[in-house]
């Protein structure tokens, strides 16, 4: 979470989009004369509605990382996150004809993602093998890297033990940088409830971390 507060009215715009991670935003930077990323996204959505499958690829490219990461936060392993990410995009393709642009496409996609993740959790599949942490810090020794990876694993597990709404709120707010209003749209909630869930979730997370000795 970057401390970004809700900008009232921001999400009232029919196609406002949550801030993309820097790497994606840079990738999607508009060409000098080409359409803006938002225009390109709108055009791709309309093409998908006409049944043009190739256009959907553009939307997958744009959101693949965010959706994969969202799924990973729920399942804590690569294999299931991969399956879930594919499922999210497949559901989005099937439903895109009903997307009316009343919220940002990303918000709509996050909602599909959260639903898919919750369905997955309800099915309670046993966890698959986890990917090793692959962000080695050259300034950190092997022992410390192992310790950090273990801390990260414990913390992800603690997040996984939070009640669903608190968990979803924390994930969307902290890791996907959505505003309170965007989180409320994804979860079908209110800004007030999102704020309460966020604080309550952080409090519970702190307790869980203390239980596990951080």
């Amino acid at each position: 979470m970057t401390g970004k507060k809700d900008e009232e009215g921001k999400m009232d715009a029919p196609t406002s989009t949550p801030a993309l991670p820097a790497v994606l935003a840079a990738d999607e930077a508009p060409a000098e004369t080409g359409p803006s990323p938002r225009e390109a996204e709108r055009a791709a959505i309309e093409a998908c509605k006409r049944g043009e499958r190739e256009a959907f690829d553009q939307l997958v490219v744009r959101y693949q990382r965010e959706i994969y990461r969202l799924c990973y936060r729920y399942v804590n392993n690569h294999e299931d996150a991969n399956d879930l990410a594919q499922e999210v995009f497949l559901r989005a393709w099937r439903a895109i004809g009903r997307f009316r642009g009343q919220s940002a496409f990303s918000t709509w996609l996050y909602r599909i993602g959260i639903n898919a993740c919750l369905n997955f959790r309800a099915a309670r599949r046993p966890p698959a093998q986890e990917l090793p942490e692959t962000i080695p810090d050259p300034g950190v020794g092997a022992a410390e890297r192992v310790e950090r990876a273990e801390q990260a694993r414990r913390l992800r597990e603690a997040v996984g033990r939070l009640p669903e709404k608190q968990r979803a709120t924390l994930i969307l707010k902290i890791y996907h940088d959505l505003t309170h209003k965007e989180v409320a749209q994804v979860l079908g909630s209110t800004v007030g409830t999102v704020k309460a869930n966020l604080f309550h979730g952080l409090g519970n997370l702190r307790k869980l971390m203390a239980e596990e000795g951080e």
Binding site: K5, H78, I135, L205
Partner: protein, 179 residues
């Protein structure tokens, strides 16, 4: 302020918001300060935990799998796409009507063997024509039927073999005095 701060307000304060009154309460209330510190510590710890980056070729594999699964999906229909199967069904009805139509009763147990050309009903008796009219893509075709040129158009479209069969059948029927 007598009561403690709500979770909503605590989130505002966590994000650097909050009114002067709320901040004053925080300064004077150890319990609220402790809750805020705990939340801040949890937020800081959670923010550091990233998702392991998948191998470099993963994203292309993901897109390829999504493309494959979408390709297996049935083709999307546009707003009027539902008319296509209906039109196809209507066309089948018309073809069947044209190939069966009104004909002399067949003796029981004998399979109908009338050639397709004999099924063409007069325009004014063709109940299916109204259905066809609704889906006709070319107005000229409709005009043909409305002006009674449907039979001519049908005969004109027959193959040589069909024309020959038609001619032979007409001759037989003429010889039998049925015409």
């Amino acid at each position: 302020m007598a009561s403690h701060l709500s979770d909503r307000t605590m989130t505002d304060l966590l994000e650097g918001e909050g009114t002067p009154e709320q901040r004053a309460h925080l300064a004077s209330c150890a319990a609220c300060r402790s809750r805020l510190d705990n939340a801040r510590a949890a937020l800081e710890a959670a923010s550091k935990v990233d998702v392991p980056e998948p191998p470099g070729l993963y994203w292309e594999a993901l897109r390829r799998n999504v493309r494959r699964r979408i390709a297996e999906e049935p083709e999307r229909r546009t707003r009027w796409g539902w008319l296509a199967p209906l039109a196809a069904a209507a066309a089948v009805v018309v073809i069947v009507a044209l190939s069966v139509g009104e004909r002399p009763p067949t003796p029981a147990g004998v399979a109908p063997t009338l050639p397709a050309w004999s099924a063409l009903p007069p325009v004014e008796e063709d109940d299916n024509l109204a259905v066809v009219n609704g889906f006709a893509e070319e107005e000229a075709l409709v005009a043909d039927w409305e002006e009674g040129r449907g039979l001519a158009a049908f005969v004109a479209a027959l193959s040589d073999q069909e024309s020959e069969a038609l001619t032979m059948a007409l001759r037989v029927e003429q010889q039998e005095g049925e015409l």
